[in-house]
Amino acid sequence: MKWNKTWKKASLLAITAVMGTTLAGCGTTGSSVSQAANGKAENSGKLVVYSAGPEGLAKKIEEGFEAKTGIQVEMFQGTTGKILSRMEAEKANPVVDVVVLASLPSMQSMAKDGLTLPYADAPNSDKLVKDWSDPNGNYFSYSASALGIVYNTSQVKTPPTSWADLAKAEWKDKVNIPDPSLSGSALDFITGYLSAKGDSGWSLFEQYQQNGVAMAGANQEALDPVITGAKDVVAAGVDYMAYKAKADGEPVDIVYPAEGTVISPRPAAIIKTTQHEQQAKQFIDYLLSDDAQKLVTGAYLLPGRTDIQAENRTNLADIPAYPVKWDWMNEHGEEVATRFTGLYQ
């Protein structure tokens, strides 16, 4: 019995010793890794970018920027909602330097809250579409997408032509709409539509809900069932994804209702807490450069600069747009998102 106890103590001692050193070891490696990450970020100019898709474009921009400047980029890719929430979660210890969103009102409210760092004299900023960027250089919309009705061409022979069509019985249970709490562009569409129509605009979304329109995740999640034929139509679908899928050979196409739609700019901004102001400014420079604008059109997005045209998609001048009120959208975004998701829950 006594021996039993003795060896047990000894074994525990041994394990403890082993574990202690290992833990200590792992502790140092663990913290040295993170310190190294921080250290690098401070000294050798590693730039942390949170970017809303599309994934391929974000990757190409990252690669292009790294090749051009030699600055390493750490990129988190997510939807606008995920990026905003990640920033909120990290409020105590912000690490992000540059944010790229898919929603202008969200960016406007960040600028209004003083979270952005102005860069008024950014090269090429004078060529940007005026309404989409801040005159003081708080944010720059380097690209945009337009919202439309995306449909499955093998199932839909006569596509709907207006937003109201989708509330008709023939479209019952066949329509998806992206979740505005996840998709910045969907939020832009809903708030933009409401800002143009006034409070009566809600009746469209109520009719949608009654007609079995399903709220289905972010943009691609809403589009995917339409590609496979599980659903027929995406209301407020982003156009570049539809163009991309169509180019891949999938049976989808897009229409912009003649009555108007919302164009959703994709702004980028430097975050005030950045430790790498110079590198962050270089990133903005790159986004507005000819090279990056070419990447933008390559991804079927609308270029942010007025002097560049896309050849693979409808250009800005040919898309009928509602006269939206960006200020109203910015003020009411959260409230609208909550009411809308509540309606569809």
């Binding site: 047990k8 394990i15 082993v18 993170s34 496979t228």
Partner: protein
């Protein structure tokens, strides 16, 4: 010597406090703290003042329904495997574990692709279009979750049935009990306690599950506590108040279940295995009953493995998803793209492996230490260590992750672990610590202390005895714990989604992101590759004789 024991006990407590207890307490604290003062009713107010009460009800109702369906699936199976010649088919035991080892988010996605309008089912069998829409309902969700969880209940029931030795029934017969009486008074009571424990764990696992609600549940608009918690901390507008209120409620529900289970297991567990050999018996299933049993198992395997894996593999091979299953629409392109050197996908795959490698190694070291501290668990301190070290198995993963974020990302935290590689490893270690603790504990329990005494008597000093006798005997348990941790952390989703540093992906988050990005084929190709590799590892684990005993945990 007493000195060392105290020292190591203190170390164990400190470790568990920092790793597990503080982060969880922080959730409760955050949930009840409002502007600097404590309001115990705050979580309830938050929940009552929103649609969250229905979310709570959704979770509980789902748990009840899954209990019902898993019982219907697992009970006949356990009976067949315990009482018919089929039970001798060792490979069946391995195969029956596959549904449980399939990550739920992948299984659900497979089911959705199969059952949706114009899905694989309708492409193969156009007449099925009439009733496939019915699948996208709560019933479908219960079915998917039950098909994932039934092996767990099955193993518990079968093991108990096997342990009820023939001699007990014989004893009943000798004393004049009729077969019906024997079943009612001997088998049923012995089975009931295991069953009760099994379903309680099924319940906890169901309400703690994230993958299925996040994929299938989102499609049908059935939100549960885990999916709402995830929503509140990861999508805009973010709301930590609601998240922690829900998390504390979910935590409480699971702890209550856990408490009930521990009472049950201490009060109603019977020593079924003695030292003496026992004969199985009762009766066996042969003839038409045997045939029926075979059919039942075949059908179960078809539904629980065949369908989801058919979808996963098909989706990974389709050239154009819009064209569906047809000649000429097949390609290996997604695999070559996936495994291309330097690609994000290959990097994600490698990340998963290195992260799990680090996590499983550290978890095994800490877990072995804790398991030895618990040993046979008579003292109060040992019981507490046991309780805390097994906690991550009972508490929903997402709740632990919320706690860890609150803890490691708080402004006063001096160690900058959050947003780093180390944070991910740490989270995996904490989440899967119970595996090693359980395996090693089971292993340790089987070692007769006579062996160690003999070693000491023969003049071995304690350290020598530990190194040459105890450690070699513990190795199987340690390896089993290591491999289990490795496999599970390789597929871990919810923690990875919430705590991976920017620009870092694992195979699980890659798959999830592909579903979100619409590149379902790429996601499924990744699922085939990563699940394939880890399944092979698990098969190896199953070949190790020592691991079998602990499998039901």
């Amino acid at each position: 010597m007493i000195h060392y024991r105290k020292w190591s006990t203190a170390a164990a407590f400190l470790l568990l406090a920092v790793l597990i207890v503080f982060p969880l307490l922080l959730i409760f604290y955050t949930a009840i703290e409002r502007d600097g003062h404590i309001d115990l009713a705050a979580p309830l107010e938050i929940i009552a003042g929103s649609h969250l009460a229905s979310v709570l009800f959704h979770s509980l109702w789902l748990g009840v329904l899954v209990i019902l369906v898993t019982t219907i699936l697992a009970l006949p199976l356990a009976w067949i495997m315990a009482r018919s010649p089929l039970g001798r088919q060792r490979w069946l035991d391995v195969v029956l574990l596959i549904p449980f080892m399939t990550p739920p988010y992948i299984g659900s996605m497979g089911w959705m692709l199969f059952m949706q309008k114009n899905g694989y089912m309708e492409q193969l069998l156009p007449s099925a279009a009439v009733w496939t829409p019915a699948f996208f309902s709560l019933g479908g969700m219960v079915m998917i979750m039950s098909l994932h969880l039934f092996p767990f209940l099955y193993l518990i029931l079968r093991n108990t049935l096997l342990q009820i030795s023939g001699s007990m029934e014989e004893a009943g017969a000798v004393h004049g009990g009729s077969p019906g009486y024997r079943f009612r008074r001997i088998i049923l009571p012995l089975l009931l306690s295991s069953y009760a424990m099994g379903v309680l764990l099924i319940f906890v696992k169901t309400i703690a599950e994230f993958g299925t609600p996040a994929t299938f549940g989102r499609r049908i608009g059935y939100s549960v506590m885990t999916s709402e918690i995830h929503k509140y901390i990861s999508s805009w507008p973010i709301d930590f108040g609601k998240a922690t209120a829900l998390a504390s409620l979910l935590l409480s529900a699971c702890l209550v279940m856990w408490y009930i289970q521990s009472i049950l297991s201490s009060r109603y567990s019977y020593r079924l295995t003695g030292g003496k050999g026992s004969r199985k018996k009762g009766y066996t299933l042969t003839g038409w009953k045997g045939l029926l049993s075979g059919l039942y198992i075949a059908l179960l395997l078809l539904v629980s493995i065949g369908i989801p894996y058919f979808s996963v593999i098909t989706a990974s091979l389709l050239k154009l998803r819009g064209a569906g299953i047809e000649a000429g629409n097949w390609t290996f392109k997604h695999y070559t793209e996936l495994l291309q050197p330097g690609s994000d996908s290959l990097e994600a795959l490698l990340n998963s492996f290195t992260l799990s490698l680090a996590a499983s190694t550290i978890a095994v070291i800490i877990g072995t230490f804790l398991a030895l501290k618990v040993s046979r668990g008579q003292r109060a301190s040992q019981k507490w260590i046991d309780l805390f070290s097994l906690m991550p198995n009972t508490v929903p993963g997402i709740v632990i992750v919320v706690g860890l974020i609150l803890f490691w990302n708080s402004p006063w935290m001096p160690v900058p672990l959050y947003n780093s590689y180390g944070m991910v490893v740490l989270t995996y270690v904490i989440l899967f610590l119970p595996y090693t603790v359980q395996y090693v504990k089971a292993n340790y329990g089987q070692i007769d202390s006579v062996l160690l005494q003999a070693g000491a008597m023969a003049g071995g000093r304690p350290l020598y005895v530990f190194r040459r006798i105890l450690l070699p005997l513990l190795i199987p348990g340690i390896i089993a714990g290591w491999m289990m941790t490795f496999t599970i952390s390789n597929r871990e989703l919810v923690a990875s989604l919430l705590i991976l540093p920017p620009s870092m992906q694992t195979s699980a988050t890659y798959i999830f992101a592909q579903f979100e990005q619409g590149a379902v084929s790429m996601g499924m190709a990744m699922a085939v590759v990563s699940v394939g590799i880890t399944t092979i590892l698990l098969l190896i684990l199953n070949v190790l004789p020592s691991a079998r005993g602990g499998q039901q945990v």
